[in-house]
């Protein structure tokens, strides 16, 4: 799933590990989501959006 994670991280000057700690997932998960190799579950998507104080739609792009 396409997303703005990398750009959002850059805005906050966070590493993947920083975001992983804040979203309570592994760094590997953040990396896989950024590279669009893995689609997160709804709870994880909500947590990531909440970390950036955004909605899910503002972080993840619906391609359908």
């Amino acid at each position: 799933m396409k997303n703005h994670l990398k750009a959002l991280r850059a805005e906050h000057d966070w590493t993947q590990a920083d975001l992983a700690d804040r979203a309570n997932v592994s760094r590997q998960t953040i990396n896989a989501i950024e590279k669009e190799k893995f689609d997160p579950s709804l709870p994880v998507a909500f947590r990531i959006a909440k970390v950036f104080d955004l909605t899910i739609e503002e972080v993840f792009l619906d391609e359908q």
């Binding site: 997932v25 592994s26 760094r27 998960t29 893995f38």
Partner: protein, 136 residues
């Protein structure tokens, strides 16, 4: 609620410890059930107790593994479950293929059940490594 003062990766490592302890206990009870009859002169009651202990600890291994899967990060869970599917498939396909070949008299040696356990363990480990590299 999960604590945030340690990373998910650190927690995953900690979560492995109970599985390692249960697995070691299972191996010990398996050895007792397998070699114990030599020690207690093949008394059936003692052998049944050893087998019951092995099955009981084996159930503990399964419960510990299920708990581990519930606690790990969702990508790690996907990698592990995918690896289990491959290991189970190889075990089933390999096991039935061996049984068919054995029935057809194609083998001159008898395979031990431990061989398939070892095969599935190796396949599980390799599939886990491949999955980890795939999502790295």
């Amino acid at each position: 609620m999960q604590e945030h003062n340690e990373s998910v990766d650190q927690r995953a490592f900690k979560n492995v410890v109970p599985i390692a302890i249960w697995t070691l206990a299972w191996v010990a009870t398996l050895a007792l059930a397998r070699f114990g009859p030599d020690l207690w002169d093949s008394q059936p009651v003692a052998s049944w107790v050893a087998i019951a202990a092995n099955v009981g600890v084996g159930i503990g291994v399964m419960v510990a593994h299920a708990g581990f899967l519930r606690r790990v990060d969702e990508l790690q869970r996907k990698i592990l479950v995918d690896a289990m599917a491959v290991a189970l498939g190889v075990g089933l396909v390999g096991g039935f293929a061996y049984a068919a070949a054995d029935s057809a008299g194609l083998f001159v040696f008898d395979a031990n059940i431990a061989f398939f356990s070892a095969l599935m363990a190796v396949v599980y480990a390799v599939a886990t490594i491949v999955g980890t590299l795939r999502y790295r």
